[in-house]
Symmetry: D3
Subunit: 334 residues, 6 copies
């Protein structure tokens, strides 16, 4: 077990089965009463192609619950491509030792793979321009961290939540919120306060759409912070038409004309793979894309767990093929 895997703390409610489907509790009761606890092989496969994610967390869980000996766990690597219907995880163990956790294993892989895949789609579309995950505010706080971790697994260079960054072994990334500017009452003064109180390693990136036109505020903060300004963030609300490629071109041109070629342009707000492609088709000089809702709204990639062997005998329910599915891409992980 590596350092990173230890990061995933497995909560008590999961361990006691509170998050499990009730019928698994009942199944374990029945089998215990019947004296049945065969060694089974359960295989988990994905509903569609994507970036496989969540296996590190699942390994943390399994290492907490599996018995001392007598089991094997095979899986794809965290962050690997997974094909439609491909077996991505295989557990061979006494059924009673892990059957209750089928719900959690499927759910972890489904959510994490969904998020990582959505992140990867943005990364793909961006063709080298970095993506930062800004989705924490669009998802329940109980999964904000693991969602951001999955986004980084899918290729994002950083994320906004403290926990997500910690799980991914990175420094979190952020600029400034509208609230800071509104409370201070002025974009330039907010940027100056930011500069005054933040340690030097925090990049100075000013949000420039709060009070005035974006190009105007960008120049104002650039003139105030000069070479200390790392970038400006455009986050124009839809009520003002959102961020458009020509806006990026214009802000870039105006900054350059004033000698601020070193100031990067960050774009956020409704960013999707499709919109990223529009910016790239228009050759808009974006330095970084912040992606939030698209990742948070990623549909889970449903994982199904099927028993394929019982005490060494191939079995399957109707619709599945009995016996282990050969997949040379799996490696033994536990």
């Amino acid at each position: 077990m590596t350092t990173r895997e230890r990061e995933f703390e497995i909560g008590r409610s999961l361990l006691v089965g509170d998050t499990a489907d009730i019928y698994l509790h009942r199944t374990l009761t029945i089998l215990r009463n019947e004296g049945l606890n065969p060694e089974v092989v359960m295989e988990f496969f994905a509903q569609r192609a994507g970036v496989f994610c969540g296996i590190n967390e699942v390994k943390s869980l399994l290492s907490r619950i599996l018995p001392e000996t007598g089991w094997e766990v095979w899986a794809l690597d965290e962050g690997a491509a997974v094909a439609k219907s491909e077996v991505a995880l295989r557990v061979r163990a006494p059924y009673a030792s892990f059957g209750l956790y089928e719900t959690a294993i499927c759910g972890t892989l489904a959510s994490c793979t969904g998020w990582a895949t959505a992140s990867h789609e943005c990364v793909d579309a961006a063709g080298g321009i970095p993506i930062v995950a800004f989705g924490a505010r669009h998802t329940h706080p109980s999964v904000a961290g693991v969602m951001d971790y999955s986004s980084v697994t899918g290729g994002a260079v950083s994320c906004s939540s403290v926990l997500g960054a910690r799980l991914a072994g990175l420094t979190p990334s952020g600029t400034m919120p509208h609230a800071l500017i509104l409370v201070i009452g002025d974009t330039v003064r907010a940027a100056q306060a930011f500069d005054r109180h933040m340690p030097p390693e925090v990049p100075r990136v000013a949000l420039v759409d709060t009070f005035h036109d974006e190009a105007e505020e960008a120049l104002d903060v650039a003139r105030a912070l000069r070479e200390k300004l790392r970038g400006v963030r455009l986050d124009t609300p839809s009520e003002r038409g959102g961020v458009t490629p020509p806006l990026v071109h214009e802000v870039r041109a105006r900054l350059n004309q004033a000698g601020f070629n070193h100031v990067d342009i960050f774009v956020s707000g409704g960013v999707t793979p499709e919109r990223i492609r529009e910016f790239r088709d228009a050759e808009a000089p974006v330095s970084v894309f912040g992606v939030g809702y698209y990742i948070a709204a990623a549909p889970p990639n449903a994982f199904t767990g099927d028993i394929h062997e019982i005490e060494g005998r191939p079995v399957a329910k109707r619709g599945r093929i009995p016996g282990i599915t050969v997949n040379p891409r799996l490696t033994r992980v536990l």
Copy 2:
């Protein structure tokens, strides 16, 4: 505060700000250094119409973090309809007391409202046929409980996870998994074991598609459990064409012909509002629909928090209207 609200335990990582966006941490540092902590009014509105959910959990959070006095919280009721762009929550408090939690407040409302709305769409489509939430296996275990709670808020009669049912004040609902049948090796014997070991209040509902044709297994378990059988669950995999309306008609007819009119038919697997409507249009005699993936894949309904007043003075960022937005549907909740 009612009993139910106390159920929502606010985790330590949320309270210490680990799930927050890093820029909010920075904002609080800056404002503290600048000696600024004005009373602000922050309003939260929904991106689109839906069933408002998550406010009970948000209230639990706010009651933990707001100071002794000097604040007001107004909101719509849990489970109420919320319109596009309608203000659903208003917090008046010193900014420093709650600013860090903007991420969590938005995220909680976004996820819960998304789930409750999806559940409600199924309930609407079903026109009186009960819906049970079976989505726990399609979402991360850290939110499986609150997702099921939201589904019940949206109108589902029950849910499959233990925690979700506890939050919603209900008994969890489930039948039997394929794993039970595969381990026991026979659908009828599995149903008999279920009947032998479960307390009488657990309804006997047999899953009837594991080894043989659905109609065949339905009759087999009905003949074995007779009047003790409450229902059969059809969950035909897509490899066998999924559950179709004619299959429901046929199983119903064959059960009735054999005298088992009392046995209900539960349908699960890929159920969506659209498919529910197909079953209803075909007058298929479904007793209960189990809905999983559709709710788990519900996109969050993004909530935005905007400062509209600072120390009694109307303010707003560009694109928003300064000052409080009148909404007579809000009531004071804290």
Copy 3:
């Protein structure tokens, strides 16, 4: 002949046949050499439904070219509805007296009816909110006046070109161009100069998107001109997302909050019937719509002139019905 009709000066190149199709010149030569000049009835019908326009100009032309006596001209009224394939003009006269002008008659009716119809579509969509024709800059100056006249015939309350307004018997309408503000260098100072030098009957309407955000400039000019300000014009370029319904709502709210309820909001830039309907569906408080490109790009409504009688004998080419087409809506106009 009324005063208005005299306004349409028929140019020399039209009268000498320079704008005619060459084959009509040749036809007249041939018929003259053959000694043929029968009295014919030519009927003109529209390709599709619309607002009939151009007949006043055609009457000016015909009254210049028809002989002293021996002819009749019947037509629909300027501005009347015309149906698809409906006969809208009938000329009975010796062929040689007007045959050369078939090109011009068809062309005048085609263009004017096309423009009037497009204008009417906007008026219809606006449901009572006035429309002003701003299309002069999108069409060749040789027809800018008659296009604006046609727009007014279609229901616009005014137009921007001097000549168009004169033909329509109105005062031209306009606010201020970006050029004025750029040359003066400041929106407020430009508005003040406008106020200083314009006669009192010219409404003070300031263009508010040149240097700063629209809401900001709107408030600035309102504070400068106060009750003298009649309105502000929003013309946000597409690079800034264009004018959106929420922008109108916000500018209205901010003006009202500052006590400038009397200031109207004019909207221009890419306005079409469809976009007008979006503003109305969003209940955006628009006072006036300026429509330019949509009218200038209106496709002509092609008119066809067919000979249906020669010396009292019904004739027609293949595809048409011989003899006069009865249409009780026609009145004798010359």
Copy 4:
């Protein structure tokens, strides 16, 4: 100034500003009163790609209005390709000397570029088969000539209006109208009269759909005029199904079977680039396409004039980039 440019007579109403937007009149009054007349650079760019046209006429205008010295005009060539948003015209001059004509400059370029582009689309589709512009009857006579000139600029080999041909330095092109045939009462006799009275350089092209079937009339006139017949024009009305590729094939075959291989086939009536492609895909032996409505209905390609420099200082309104836009394709034209 070349001979051709002198052809564009600039009308009096344009010169006195009657076709201008009223707000430009007002702007000049205000600036005069304020004592402002800076040297500005105004750049004009196209809304979308096309064939640039109208610059010769604009040059005629500018050479009439610009002062003796102290200005520069740069532009693309008449007939050159222009890209979306490409600067196609740059005027550096005292604002008061040309500001009033912004309406006319934009309008001239918009209309002419729209027409030339539509013509070019047909030429492109025709792949070498000549296109003749027949649109005069579908547009107002005040622009019939300049429209035909623009069509020739876009690639048409000739046009039907006398004025258009003169502007383009060509002989106008035409066959015979239905009116000639109806008045004479017989297609063959009309063709014979045409032959009798027209000078030898006018090609004998008979219209063959007035009284009888096209193939029948084509053979009749061919038998009557024999080697003097240059071609037949098919213009079947939509009431008879329009001209179809098989009709062209059949007329060609019947003419050839009768020994009239030298007789060309002209096709007119509803011709568009799409229909041209259908004829070519069907290998229909068309000699010439006559295109009318498609060109006359071409939407203008809107041109925008922006001030980018004032007295040598880069400026721009929001949404545009201050300073001159480098475009090496521009040449100094005045």
Copy 5:
């Protein structure tokens, strides 16, 4: 058995089983060798809604093959509406007596119901204008008669084939073919020859598109046959644009102008329900529509025969409900 039913001669190859599926031959051999010939109930249902047709022919078949006694046949009426999945025929008899004919029974009902339904769609669209079935040339001659019979069952007033009309108890309907006119060499002379040699009860309807324009030929034959002319048939080929509503209007007008108001207009060639609706929407004065290809190309309405009882015991294959399906619309027919 009525007179009409006797019309359907059941061919020898059908009776000996040559048209049957080979597996039914094998089934009968096997069952005979096994000594099995139970009384069964076989029910036949339609794949989709339509006009039920073919039962009269099926009754002719069954009355030839069923044993002396001991059977029942229930069915819907010939020409009745049949719903999707509705049981339309039920046969109770010893399996060996009719099992071989399952192929023929299903096939007869499938084809005939398909044709009758297509015919009915045209009749429906025509809203009272008569439809004549002209499809014989688009289908194999072995079924031309029964197809025409089915068309009449679906609502057509007559048909073109001699056999179809005989089966339907009608006089066949027809005008004249292009061949007659081409051989005689002139439309008018062909019409006169038709009039000369046909008995008076045959309506004189001339085909008017062979050599000249339709309107021209229509007037020519009308002038030749005068009050003896019952109608003209328009059958314009697609090479000439097909028959259009304006053509019908024009021919009607020209006939009326010449005093031939009594001459009907028949329209044929590519007639479909959709095109019929176009003629009606254009108020084209069509007297009769001839429909050919649309009926001949009607997809069969597949019928399925299922055994639902064996020796009084309810049975069914998977997917069907055991036992007789109650349908009060069935009557005993044999």
Copy 6:
């Protein structure tokens, strides 16, 4: 005349003209009375591209009706590709000798070419997997044989009807119907009875979806017949979701796991070219596809017969080109 051609018996009702259009009877009467019986050339062309079929039957007809001498028949080969509008048959003979049979010639070619083309589309899609024609039950028994013959002409390897196979010179192909299994009451016993009573050359192919799940029944019959079992047929009804690619994969896997690699899998029920492509895209191991409805529902490929020469003189109706159409692909067939 070859042996095969003699197979097509030309029925008496065809020979006496009962299946002909009535207007052809009338035409022959008129021409006889007028003393006209010229030698004509009639050419038949197809409405669209396809596989030409029916010419052998047409040759059988023509050889019965044409006079002793003095005629020529040219045609494409049975089964050859035919292009849109290509002349596929040319008859030169006295008109009276064959004019009555225009209906039958067109109809035979239309239906047969339609069927052969549909069959060929399936063969094309299947890429080497054999297709068997199972459509007899979806078409009228009077054409079941010739439809199956046409399917084989289009590339099917066999067909289900006795007559179709005889016409095509093949052994008919079939498995077992549901009726056999239902009457015997058990799939395994039915398969055993089949094996017991069928001659050894009939392949043992069991239908495996009547009572139990397909995979279950497939294994049951394989275990019963072992190496004698040639294949299993999957025909899952739509009520059970139809046959899916995963079902084929699973049945294959389960058969192989049990050692029955030699057992083929036949797929039938709703098979179309599109569905065949789905099976192939999913690499489903199908051995044979049975295609029924798709071929039976094939729209006829309308053939048109035009007279192009009369007594050596080129003629044609409007829309067609006079004289013989050169087509080097035609060969003299009679």
